[in-house]
Symmetry: C2
């Protein structure tokens, strides 16, 4: 298992900053143990490393003030949205101040004619979509959790809709961010495309708070499709399901979602969501378009699925049935945890070229079985991305060790297939050991040089992404 | 008119490098005046600033050797593809060595199952598409010129198909590049998405040779659509045409191309391409999809166009007619030059949010008329991007001065509309004065810090994008 970095503490600096922030922010600055632990919380196996204090910021000016105070005393600044990240992004290995942006939750402007909007980082994706619904618009990125858009931007989240609508990188037009020197940058105007200088938008998206603290995000929106239909189909093996997916992508069928659940996952979902799907590998799909187009897509999918032994193919345009199906998919994480009460879930996140997907999923499934792990597989397979969720007793060192070995093995397998150790969760603390294996040391050194140039004192979310 | 930077020459370093390269590359290193001038050539109004020598590289190892020699002696390195850039990208304001990659023109591998390929930077887009045709695949980015894919990557090119398929940023999966320190980086694996560290792929795309020299590019490909139809429709005013475009985009009709030609441009195209289109504002369209889908798109477009006074709407699935129409569009630049033989063309490149497109185009058209310029307007209007091509007598200082004032005025108008001074041509030398106006000095300073960190001696294409 990857070791979490332990970094030296700047105890004098931290003590000073605690005093200044208390004075400036009053009750909006908290140092109680439970709130600190909650802000170092990660939804996975990594050890909690709590910050020294939590400040609830309400504006860009307040964020600037916090960064300036911390910069003066060389104290870490760690942004916090909803705490749903999975690789220790909000941990504080060198202590410091967690900047909770949940009160920066204003939808500042919606440009319905331009299909774009500007939000503060604490706005959650469900909040935004509820707000947009009456205008016939939606924001397509759906990582499952009701994450904050600031966090989704910082980690380059994606999820079920990415096969059609892309990742955060494709849907963030610009960010405003406070940098380590206290300066505010705005990375782009609101035009749909630009070749004006280095692409700082995409540099900030996925930088995990290590280069600056995001204070506004300009997002691309989509019109709610005229028609939406969902479908499900059962397959004899995960290999057959993956072969189907590969062909769907190659044929250019513009599926909006195409999700794989292996038999273990289907079983867990049935139990948790009180459903009765056949407990075999399953593809869940969603089609967006005109009435004619969703029908055509569903038919094309059906024909391909049949060639690969797909069975029980049903599609529906009923909103109720669709919601039930996708709610079950969204609850897969919680359903899985019920398979072994008390266990922690360790999620892998590899992503491979689609031609290698069947090989990679099949190998992972065989290895999980050999090792005797309880671990469903679920994935955004249209992108070649899937997750094994290993259920592990974190009090059992041997089991933890073996889980770590599995994660390493799978990451390296994906890398050997020209894939990545992280399709959407980010590097955080947990994936740092794999970054140079994936991209080579020279590439990681370039990332380190950028980090050093923009944050020479290393105060922005230290101990994540790149060690400098 | 923007001043071109004059940079100090490192004469001793250059003399040494000329000797070493001659020895190492023999006939593949050229210092004759005409070849040097050709490599400082720009297709627009900027003064030619020739490099001191041109080396024709054949491999990544040769590029590395050239960069190392130049780095040792602090001599500029300027990458050269086909020389079709428009903002002085290949000029050599501090002298130095032009690295011509036209002999690095191998298509290294096509992964048809994954819809991706790896090419060397000297491969041109037409070469790639000819190669791919038999496999039912194509690369969608089409800037008009038969540019090299290295140059298109370096400038973040886009063009007519971007409204559906995005820009180079959306279609480059990874690059290999030789950096100023001689190290080779590979920015990503070949998986469709990744959250592994900072997005160096998008940092290199659009960096215009100022951060490193691109030696390989991994591209996303598309399946050739089952059906393609093209269409044209005439409008009473550019405003009516732009209103139509705005509605098409808002309705989410997935047009593959939607191009505006104003009446002056149509007239020029008629004369050059021997066509007889009505000499009024024109939209040219292309629809990609299934047979049913292209029909549906064409019908939806027709209904919207009619509401805005569109006339003479015709669509066709004939390949011959389509090719004739799009060849005329591609030849628009050459057609325009015929309107005033001997004049140079100065192309603007603003891009605004689609809701401001009609205002911006109409204002530009009115101003051109007031000022008495001969300048057609043509644009990738689905993205809010359009070009005025001013025909100017570059021997007439007053006319040059007034043209410069128009360019400034239009750039600032677009910026005031939350748009950009460059939708697709890049900053180069010509747009440097507008970068801080568009993004603010703090943002440009971040770009400068990245440039300094990765190229501390400033040898990579100096005098472009950011001055440090």
């Amino acid at each position: 298992m990857a070791k979490i970095t332990e970094l030296p503490l700047n105890e004098d600096g931290i003590a000073t900053v605690l005093g200044v922030l208390k004075q400036q922010f009053g009750d909006r600055f908290q140092t109680g143990q439970s709130i600190r632990e909650q802000h170092g919380h990660t939804t996975t196996w990594l050890t909690n490393q709590s910050p020294d204090g939590v400040v609830f910021a309400r504006s860009k000016d307040e964020v600037t003030a916090i960064v300036n105070i911390c910069a003066t005393h060389k104290v870490p600044v760690i942004p916090y949205g909803t705490g749903t990240s999975l690789e220790g992004h909000v941990n504080a290995p060198a202590g410091g101040i967690s900047v909770d942006v949940s009160q920066m939750n204003q939808i500042l402007e919606v440009f319905s004619d331009d299909l774009s909007c500007i939000v503060q980082p604490g706005v959650t994706r469900e909040q935004l979509n509820t707000y947009l619904r009456d205008q016939g618009l939606f924001f397509p990125i759906d990582p499952g959790a009701n994450a904050s858009l600031g966090g989704m931007t910082a980690t380059n989240a994606s999820g079920t809709n990415a096969v059609r609508y892309g990742t955060m990188k494709d849907n963030v037009l610009a960010v405003e961010a406070v940098m380590a020197n206290g300066e505010t940058i705005r990375t782009a105007q609101r035009a749909k495309k630009s070749s004006a200088g280095y692409d700082l938008t995409r540099l900030m998206v996925g930088s995990e708070g290590t280069l600056g603290l995001i204070t506004q995000i300009t997002l691309r929106l989509q019109g709610i499709p005229e028609a939406i239909s969902s479908a499900r189909c059962t397959f004899p093996t995960v290999d057959a399901a993956c072969q189907t997916v590969m062909q769907v992508i190659q044929y250019g069928i513009p599926v909006a979602r195409i999700e794989l659940l292996d038999a273990v996952q289907v079983k867990a979902c049935n139990a948790y969501s009180k459903m009765d799907m056949p407990e075999e590998p399953l593809l869940l799909l969603e089609f967006h378009g005109s009435d004619a187009s969703v029908l055509e897509q569903a038919e094309m999918f059906g024909a391909i699925a049949e060639e690969h032994g797909g069975a029980g193919y049903t599609s529906t345009t009923s909103t109720e049935e669709r919601n039930k199906l996708w709610q079950a998919r969204h609850d897969a994480y919680w359903a899985t945890l019920q398979l072994r009460p008390g266990a922690v879930g360790i999620s892998t996140d590899v992503c491979v070229p689609i031609s290698r997907l069947a090989d990679c999923v099949s190998a992972a499934q065989a290895k999980l079985k050999d090792e005797g792990f309880i671990s469903p597989i679920v994935g955004h397979v249209g992108d070649g991305n899937f997750h094994c969720l290993l259920l592990i007793d974190d009090k059992n060192p041997d089991e933890m060790e073996r889980a770590g070995q599995f994660v390493s093995w799978l990451n390296e397998l994906a890398i050997s297939m020209d894939g990545t150790c992280t399709g959407e969760h980010g590097i955080g603390q947990g994936k740092m050991p794999y970054l140079s294996k994936e991209l080579g040391q020279a590439t990681v050194d370039v990332m380190g040089a950028i980090k050093m140039a923009l944050d020479p004192d290393g105060i922005m979310n230290p101990g994540k992404v790149v060690a400098v």
